[in-house]
Every structure is written in structure tokens, then in C-alpha cells.
């Protein structure tokens, strides 16, 4: 760690944290302003290094609320892919770790903050959805530490054994994603998030997806799948669903309106609900911001097969917040449909023409690659990249201002 300039100051501000020179700091990209306080007594150690983290040493934290397992979801994979590189579990560690690490991002599964393991929850009669099964103090402490560039020993919740395994070391990444049931439940954790997303799957679609997931399993039947969803619903509605209103972006997945009485859940209507006024985030739009548009891209230029594609865009309110909603109903059949649609969307934060299409093609085997879920997840990934770049460039600008004083 090289100190390039030394300043003298009169007083030490409380915004600086006092820490021992850490071995955990990584990467030459980090810039620190290190202040040494000279002690008046001779012979005393006086090695109190007061470090103020400046520039891009602050981790950007993204929260994702989802009920579909953790760190392994396709959303996570699309997101990490936008930043380049594949996300892998930590090498050589616990094979049942839920964490995913790539060059830029680390994805943490919030199940790791369960305070009660499977046996404990059974004894107390609480589901994993219940806040009483989770240690929010630890979650807050560790997310805060990672955000300020300090590595943590995070517990591991083993989904196979249902036990809490010995912790794994997590080093502060450039982008930290916390995924799970309660990323926005605790107010302190919420305040640490630079951006938050809620994945809202409607009951009919949830049922259809769980049927696809479980029907091949011995032991499961339509009744058991239904019973499982029903039994978890009260806790879900009480503890998980209310987080929606805090999210900067909600991806709502509903059954299609293009096919009457469709209950297969294969064709989907997906709505991207974007909060207005969020720092570093400008909502995606069609044609012109703030207007209301209904758009069917299929016609003379583009022929689509049944049931086609339908878009809608417009302003709205959502739990008292001003939002813009971009909606897609239907499926992509061919590459040219995707490119055509991409060319008409604005504010998608791509770095080159066709980037959305390229990202979708890269993961053509992922679920949702031919509909709004894949499209909006990819777009949200690009918006997060944009947000990250804005935050890190604005942070490097700030210290220059301070030194002028």
C-alpha cells in the first residue's frame, strides 16, 4: 500500500474509521488516505493508523429479494455475466457453500444468516421466512464491513444437511450482491443498499414453475406442491411480500394475457416496475419518457409466431411511489425479433448496439431466455453496471474537491 501524498490536518473527523493496518486489503485500485497521529509521549507505540477510505474502495451493494433459492438463480448468473466472467463457488472451500464469486462480483446468500438451523426452526415452530429464524444484527454488521472494505468470516447454511457449517472468509468485492428472502427487511441493511430488486412471481406462475420443478420427484404430486405453497403463503405475505415497496426495481411475473385461459405458465407477461428519482438509475423507456405506449412489434417488418409479443410502457404509482412500468407479454422466437425490440428501447445502458441481444444469446439455455424475464433481468444487469460506474466515478471525483481546500 503506497502513500502518495501526505497532508496535515487539525482535527480528525468522526467519519474516519480507526482500524489496525489490515492484511485484507486487496488490489492496487484502492486508494486510501492514511492519517498518522503523532503521539506526544516517547516510547509509546502510537501506531494508530486512522484510515479514511476514499475513491473506489467502497463496495457497491445490491440487494435481490427472491424466493427461488440463492446464488444459483439465473438472475444472478445473468447479472454476473454482464460484468464479465463466470461466477463460481469459492475454490477449495466448503462444497456446499452458497456463495458465488467472479472477478467483479460476490453473491452472498442470505440464508447464511439463519440464526436457527433446520432442527432449531422445527423446535421453535418457525419457517425460514420468519424473521425470528434470521440474525439481522450479523447480516447488518457483515454487509456494513464488506461495504467499507473489510473482509468477514461469514457463516454457511448448508441446504443439504440443514446445519450451520463453519464460516468462510469473504473478501470485499467491487460489487456485493445479497440475495435471499430478506435483503430489505431490516432498515439498517436497507440503508446500505445502493440498489434493490424484488422478484415478484404471481401465485399462478409460482405454481406452474414449481410443478415443472418438482413433478418428476418421487414423493411429489400436484397436491403436495399445492399444499407446500399454501402452507408457506401466510409467512410469505407477512414477511417477504411487504419488501416490494422498498425496491428500486420490481420484476413482476404474471400469466400471459395473450392466450385465453392459459394455465401452463409457459408464455409470460413480465412487468419491470422502476422507481423514479433513484440516484444513478434512469428507467428504461419506449419512445418517450413519461408517455404511455402500447406497442406490438410484429407486423409488416417482423413476423412473429403465435401468440406474438406485446409491449406496454407508461408512468404509474406503486405503493405511493412514482414509477415507470415497462411490460412485455409473449415470447421471442427468433434472433431478429430480439434485435428489433432492443433497437427501440431507450436508456438500456448498453455499451454497444446489440449488447442485450448478445447477453441473451450467451445464456440461451437459461430459463426465461425467450421472454420478458430474461430480457428484463439482462437489462437490470446493465443498469446495475451503469450505476456502479457512476458511483465509482463520482467517488474518485470527490477527493479531488476535498484537496483543493
Amino acid at each position: 500500500m503506497a502513500v502518495s501524498t501526505v497532508y496535515t490536518t487539525q482535527s480528525l473527523n468522526s467519519t474516519c474509521s480507526i482500524s489496525t493496518p489490515a492484511k485484507t486489503h486487496l488490489g492496487s485500485h484502492q486508494k486510501h488516505v492514511v492519517l498518522f497521529r503523532r503521539t506526544s509521549k516517547r516510547g509509546s507505540s502510537g501506531s494508530c493508523a486512522i484510515k479514511c477510505s476514499a475513491g473506489d474502495s467502497q463496495t457497491v451493494v445490491i440487494g435481490l429479494a427472491a424466493d427461488s433459492g440463492c446464488g444459483k438463480s439465473t438472475f444472478m448468473r445473468r447479472l454476473t455475466s454482464v460484468f464479465g466472467g463466470a461466477a463460481e463457488p469459492p475454490k477449495g472451500g466448503n462444497p456446499d457453500s452458497n456463495t458465488l464469486i467472479s472477478d467483479m462480483t460476490t453473491v452472498i446468500c442470505l440464508d447464511d444468516y439463519h440464526s436457527l438451523d433446520r432442527t432449531g426452526r422445527k423446535e421453535k415452530g418457525v419457517t425460514a421466512l420468519d424473521p425470528r429464524a434470521n440474525d439481522f444484527d450479523l447480516m447488518y454488521d457483515q454487509v456494513k464491513a464488506l461495504k467499507s472494505g473489510v473482509a468477514v468470516d461469514k457463516p454457511i447454511y448448508n441446504h443439504v444437511t440443514g446445519l450451520l457449517d463453519p464460516p468462510e472468509l469473504i473478501k470485499p468485492p467491487k460489487i456485493l450482491v445479497i440475495e435471499g428472502l430478506h435483503p430489505m427487511f431490516d432498515e439498517r441493511v436497507r440503508d446500505l443498499l445502493d440498489f434493490s430488486i424484488y422478484l415478484d412471481i404471481s401465485n399462478e406462475v409460482k405454481f406452474a414453475w414449481k410443478i415443472q420443478r418438482d413433478m418428476a420427484e418421487r414423493g411429489h404430486s400436484l397436491e403436495s406442491i399445492k399444499a407446500s405453497i399454501e402452507a408457506r403463503k401466510p409467512d410469505f405475505d407477512a414477511y417477504i411480500d411487504p419488501q416490494k415497496k422498498y425496491a428500486d426495481a420490481v420484476i413482476e411475473v404474471l400469466p400471459t394475457q395473450l392466450i385465453p385461459d392459459d394455465n401452463e405458465g409457459k408464455v409470460l407477461r413480465v412487468r419491470l416496475i422502476m422507481k423514479e428519482g433513484v440516484k444513478h438509475f434512469s428507467p428504461v423507456y419506449l419512445f418517450d419518457e413519461g408517455s404511455t405506449i402500447s406497442w406490438i412489434p410484429c407486423g409488416r417488418k417482423l413476423t412473429c409466431s403465435y401468440p406474438g409479443i406485446k409491449f406496454h410502457y407508461g408512468p404509474d404509482t406503486y405503493f405511493g411511489n412514482e414509477v415507470s412500468i415497462l411490460e412485455m407479454d409473449g415470447q421471442f422466437d427468433r434472433l431478429d425479433e430480439l434485435i428489433y425490440v432492443e433497437s427501440h428501447l431507450s436508456n438500456i445502458s448498453t455499451k454497444f448496439y446489440g449488447e442485450v441481444t448478445q447477453q441473451m444469446l450467451k445464456h440461451a439455455d437459461f430459463p426465461g431466455s425467450n421472454n420478458g424475464t430474461g430480457l428484463f433481468q439482462t437489462i437490470v444487469g446493465l443498469k446495475i453496471r451503469d450505476l456502479y460506474e457512476q458511483i465509482t466515478s463520482s467517488k474518485t471525483a470527490a477527493p479531488l474537491e476535498a484537496t483543493k481546500a
Binding site: G93, D96, G219, S224, A227, S228, A231
Partner: protein, 136 residues
């Protein structure tokens, strides 16, 4: 029981002297004597497709499959009395948890075609969990 074995996997790391280069991991198998309880049924190669390569992964798959079945039965029993009871909720939540865990494993093997034990087994190729099956 399979659980004990998994515990040893996730417990404290022992220093196992590994050869610097294992050219053919299959050479390590048959004469290994396991002093832990053995699973009575022979491991059958299941049709989960894709990348299941190590014994440990097969064991996890099998364990999860059995757990799903067992927990569904338990949940049905517990809920017979009172469907709105806490016990009933918790029982179905457990079913959901293991169903999702199984699905995640399946996704990793079939879509990503990677055995989750890959990186662990490269460091510890001599453990029981890292035996590679020759049947396929």
C-alpha cells in the same frame, strides 16, 4: 448414514497428503477401506444427466431425493390434525427447502455441466466423496 460422511466433508479440514499429480483418479478406488458405516444399497447410476462425476455428488442427490419423499410424508401426517398449525407450516417449508436444493443441484449438473465437488476434489482426490465412478 450418508449424513455422517457429509459432515466429515464440511467439518475441519484434515491435511491429506496428496500426490502432486494424479493422472488417473480412477486408480484410487476399489481397495479403499471405509471404516465409517456403509450405505447398504449399492449406488446406482441415476439418470440425472450431465456432469455428475464424483461419488459425493451422487450421494447428495440420493440423499435429497430420499429427503423429499420423507418430508412430504411427514408434512402430510403433521398437517392432518391442523392445517394452520405452526408444525404444519414448518413441515411444508422443509419440503420446499429440500425440493429447491435438489433443483439447484440438478440445474448445476444439467445446465452448467459441472460437478459441484470439482474444485474440492481436485484438492482432495483421495477422499471417499471424490471417488469417480467407472460405470459410465
Amino acid at each position: 448414514m450418508a449424513t455422517l460422511r457429509l459432515h466429515s466433508l464440511t467439518g475441519a479440514r484434515e491435511e491429506i497428503p496428496t500426490p502432486s499429480f494424479v493422472s488417473n483418479p480412477r486408480m484410487l478406488s476399489p481397495s479403499f477401506h471405509c471404516n465409517k458405516k456403509r450405505v447398504s444399497r449399492r449406488m446406482t447410476v441415476n439418470a440425472m444427466g450431465g456432469g455428475a462425476k464424483y461419488k459425493g455428488t451422487l450421494m447428495r442427490e440420493k440423499q435429497l431425493t430420499e429427503m423429499i419423499e420423507k418430508k412430504v410424508t411427514e408434512a402430510k401426517q403433521v398437517c392432518e390434525g391442523d392445517e394452520t398449525s405452526d408444525e404444519c407450516k414448518v413441515a411444508w417449508d422443509e419440503v420446499e427447502e429440500v425440493s429447491q436444493a435438489k433443483a439447484d443441484l440438478r440445474l448445476r449438473l444439467e445446465v452448467e455441466k459441472k460437478d459441484p465437488l470439482e474444485s474440492f476434489c481436485q484438492e482432495n482426490p483421495e477422499t471417499e466423496e471424490c471417488k469417480v465412478y467407472e460405470d459410465w
